[in-house]
Symmetry: C2
Subunit: 345 residues, 2 copies
């Protein structure tokens, strides 16, 4: 079994163990709401529904890529990276907490092709499901105590919660942009830093901490995660306007229809030209999507976003080189980064 597959199995079983904290008399149905959202139960359950678990995988691959004294005691059955399992689960849980609340905030009725939690059980229950995922994430990170010193555990908890504060700040910015008509790309980076990069950088930072990496290596891993997040998001933004699904698919695939504050759109708004004029006139329909996408491309937004993505990808890969990931996990983390940074959909 390759290392990535082994890790994904460990992640899934750790997540199930953590979420089982709610599997108690009187809260079985509550537990079910969480297992549904995590993709394990209910209609459409399965690997499509769980998502790719990229964040926890990044945690474990980072830990495994570090060279440290304790690793010498590892065996095939108990590899060193197992000690990072609770942190990997914690990060996936906070990611899912943010998705559940995000779906309520955005009024999104589908996620990964299935009904969102609030659609199935109502917004009040869904708020509570998100809250519980968050609580369990904090309990999970404290479970690191089984493997690590209390100092390291509180450092990891601190990195996690600092990134979460940035997440709430990014979320605030995103929501507050809805009422504004004076936006430009200057407003993009702080929002995306909070909404996407903060948590990805927490993955690699915590992974490196638990792998006993040096301060310099921890910083390189942290910055790798940060720029990986930015590059990933910019790519997502490009696909959200010019990707196949956005141009021919359903309305929810197009950021133009959704009115999302993406990089190409904020770039176009900053130009105060024809795109900005059309944008200010109200929602864009599916029928207009191709024409508006072309308009935006003509104003230089696609080119700008592609250049930006290249720059951020370059930075991410440079920091990864600097971190110098080692062994089989090192190869796997480079491969994962390349896959994430060159995807076409």
């Amino acid at each position: 079994m390759n290392i990535q597959k082994q890790m994904l199995e460990a992640i899934e079983s750790e997540l199930q163990k953590q979420v089982a904290r709610l599997d108690q008399p009187r809260t079985k149905q509550f537990h079910e709401m969480l297992t549904y959202h995590m993709g394990w139960t209910g209609e459409g359950a399965g690997s499509e529904a769980t998502g790719k678990r990229i964040r926890p995988l990044l945690v474990l691959l980072t830990t495994a890529s570090c060279e440290n004294e304790m690793k010498k005691s590892e065996t095939i059955a108990t590899p060193y990276w197992l000690c990072a399992k609770p942190a990997a689960a914690a990060i996936e849980l906070v990611h899912n907490f943010s998705l559940v609340h995000d779906d309520i905030q955005d009024n999104s009725d589908k996620r990964r092709g299935r009904n969102t939690v609030w659609v199935n059980w109502g917004a009040p229950m869904a708020i509570n499901v998100g809250d519980a995922l968050f609580v369990i994430a904090n309990q999970a990170i404290l479970d690191l105590m089984e493997y690590q010193s209390a100092d390291v555990v509180s450092k990891a908890a601190s990195i996690l919660n600092n990134s979460l504060l940035e997440l709430t700040r990014g979320q605030f910015m995103d929501m507050s942009y809805e009422d504004r008509n004076d936006l430009s790309i200057d407003d993009y980076w702080p929002m995306v830093g909070g909404k996407t990069s903060a948590l990805l950088s927490a993955c690699t930072h915590i992974g490196a901490l638990l792998g006993s990496a040096s301060e310099d290596e921890q910083e390189a891993y942290r910055l790798f995660g940060w720029h990986l997040g930015l590059a990933f998001q910019v790519q997502d933004d490009i696909l959200g306007i010019w990707g196949d699904e956005a141009l021919i698919g359903k309305s929810t695939a197009s950021d133009l229809v959704e009115g999302k504050n993406s990089l190409p759109i904020l770039y176009g708004l900053g130009k105060h030209n024809k795109f900005a004029e059309r944008w200010s006139q109200g929602p864009i329909s599916m029928g207009e999507v191709k024409a508006v996408a072309t308009l935006l491309e003509d104003e230089g937004a696609k080119n700008f976003a592609e250049e930006t993505s290249k720059v951020e990808t370059q930075k991410a890969l440079e920091y990864l080189d600097q971190a110098n990931p080692r062994g089989e996990a090192g190869k796997a983390i480079r491969q994962l980064a390349n896959t994430l940074l060159t995807r076409k959909q």
Copy 2:
């Protein structure tokens, strides 16, 4: 200045420092939403709007009531209990996180006489305000690192998050009871344990931990907080039906009109008599409140609730005796308990 007043000032300044984490460029308005909810800014700001800060006060009074070696180094300017400030703030922050989300879930438009956060800024923003309060609470508890060993800090964080899981479970039960017509008092205790007692017992448990109390004393303080919570809630439930405000005030003061799952109501439902019959027929109007309250009293619900409140009060005070709180803080904590347990509104 008496110890309670000194503590309340320390609590308020610690809370403001913690919430200021959001006082950054681009999130000034987000910060304002939190300071509004905390009662410091906006219309109606002031001591009426902040609430009584009973939970953080319980933390600090408990810490100060313990006798320990470190206390010998304290001076009037730097009393030993100051080391528990971040934990006191953390608990008040999670309490407020739960209030902000609760107000959305219950569709309540007023809290302490002011608009709730979702009324002012919409539910999506209010969800995020609650989330941020929760994140900051976790950051605050980790700030204990300045005063305590990492082992003690992770223990405190663990107690806090365990109580929060119970809080989400209690919240789930409360919401799920809305659709049920087979409820009785057996359904009351797990719900109230989660919604009220879990956090109050975390206050006294963490306070005792930080005061270096023995394991036995910590357990006695924890149980004091637990039964204090139960007694307090039962009293609240009695006042919610037979208190002056409930009988003559606005509809929101009466649990009969609000349809709350309170002890007297669940007792009445379990009797399957006239009250249960009236309850099953739909909402109770303000005009019916006196008659239905009398009906419920005639079926023994008031008497039962008063007896229950006495029993829980007795248990709380016995555990407090067992914990043996000492000094000026010890007197203050006994006084606070008595005030809470004998209030008339």
